[in-house]
């Protein structure tokens, strides 16, 4: 690796101050995407501001109606939390399917959501469960958060503090993993929430999105056959050596059916 300045922030305010004074600084959460990118020399920030020493960004709280997860909580902690397993088993299940053991023990929910990789798992939960992203400045609703390929509503001087998931009546996440990376070729979170049915899809498009046609059909009847005949247009979906846009569109239907059956 090349040289850069390493800073360990003591608080969110401290982190933002250090970021502002850096020439070309980057926030470091778990580093599961940023560090490999730097090793490949595809990014060369002048400063890294490490959030790992900020206790306020860690931990899981359940308060009756919502599960709030600190931004620096690892996938493993979410997966193995008894509270999450009891309140939203689908979320624990999703966290346990991310990447490999190293990624699950180092990677964080805040890092994943801030990066908004189109194939990451957490965005499906954020969209599918209708979560609220809490930053150092404001609360952002899931539907307003994901803007495009690696693009979110976050401003340059904005940091995710925690993510709050309303506890659904029932929910399930099903994904078709890319066999080497375990990234989601397509992943679908289906949830019956207090405000209706939500279907959140990751892996298929530039960023996570909802499928209103499926939500409507499941609202009328919550059964796998309700989504069986709903086709997703492949326009604008991701296409790469692992699968065409048409293939991914088809997978959305398959994963949605499985998720409904599992919910």
């Amino acid at each position: 690796m090349y040289q850069f300045e390493y800073h360990k922030a003591s608080s969110v305010e401290d982190a933002m101050k250090k970021l502002a004074s850096a020439d070309d600084g980057k926030i470091l959460a778990g580093g599961m995407t940023l560090l490999p990118t730097m090793k490949q020399r595809l990014a060369s920030p002048s400063d890294l501001i490490d959030l790992s020493g900020i206790a306020a960004l860690k931990g899981i709280k359940v308060d009756g109606k919502t599960v709030t997860i600190g931004a620096m909580t690892t996938h493993w902690e979410v997966h193995s939390s008894k509270d999450v397993q009891k309140a939203i088993p689908a979320l624990s299940d999703l966290a346990g399917q991310i990447g490999d053991p190293m990624v699950r023990h180092r990677g964080t929910i805040g890092g994943s959501i801030a990066n908004s990789d189109p194939s990451a798992d957490y965005p499906a939960a954020v969209i599918g469960l209708g979560a609220t992203i809490k930053t150092n400045k404001r609360d952002i609703a899931a539907d307003d958060y994901f803007k495009g390929l690696f693009e979110t509503a976050l401003a340059d001087d904005e940091l995710i503090v925690s993510v709050s998931f309303p506890i659904p009546k029932r929910a399930a996440y099903q994904k078709f993993p890319q066999p080497a990376s375990r990234y989601a070729m397509v992943g679908v979170m289906v949830a019956e929430t207090d405000s209706g049915i939500r279907v959140g899809v990751t892996g298929a498009g530039p960023c996570a999105f909802r499928v209103p046609a499926m939500e409507k059909a499941l609202g009328a009847k919550f059964a796998a056959e309700s989504v069986a005949n709903i086709t997703i247009p492949s326009d604008g979906l991701n296409s790469d050596i692992h699968g065409s846009a048409e293939y991914r569109a088809h997978l959305v239907g398959v994963m949605a059916k499985r998720a409904v059956a599992a919910a």
Binding site: T37, L42, A43, N115, S116, F150, N238, D240
Partner: protein
Amino acid sequence: MDMKGEYRIPATKQAVWEALNDPETLKTCIPGCETIEKTSDTEMTATVKAKVGPVSARFKGKVTLSDLNPPNSYRISGEGQGGPAGFGKGGATVSLEEDGTDTILRYEANAQVGGKLAQIGARLVDGAAKKIADEFFSNFAAHVGGAAARSDTSEQPAADGAGIKINHEEVKPSKTISTATWIVGLVAVVAVVLLLFSVL
């Protein structure tokens, strides 16, 4: 990989052509473009700082024009050097067509990658390329459309407040082919390199 696209630009073919000939316009519209230099009638180099997600890299691109058929179509080939990351090269056939008061720009491009970039894979290639192209053309449409709307004032500050001065100088009528080509070429190059970069 292959990609193609079509963009409607709210300006006349002539205005689009002229804007495409103006390096300052190109510099303003190409996402992350730092410098553009014309090295001959059919060649130009550019430095672009590309950013997609975690990837942020500065690379040099070189663009060459051929099969010129002004002002209707041309072939543009580009090559991008991404330092230790590898390289990408590609080409595009571009055409302009008048449609009422608008101009339709179409391109068909293909690209290859080599070096480390090729090993890393091609995840999201299309997505990244499309994102860059969309960003460029929406900037361009806003710029050209906006410039046409206020063509009588030359002191209008740039709307983005970023301090970029829009150059309203007369574009010299040029018998050489438009920098239009450049633009698309550059976009193709940027797209190619970016897409390579977004593999992680």
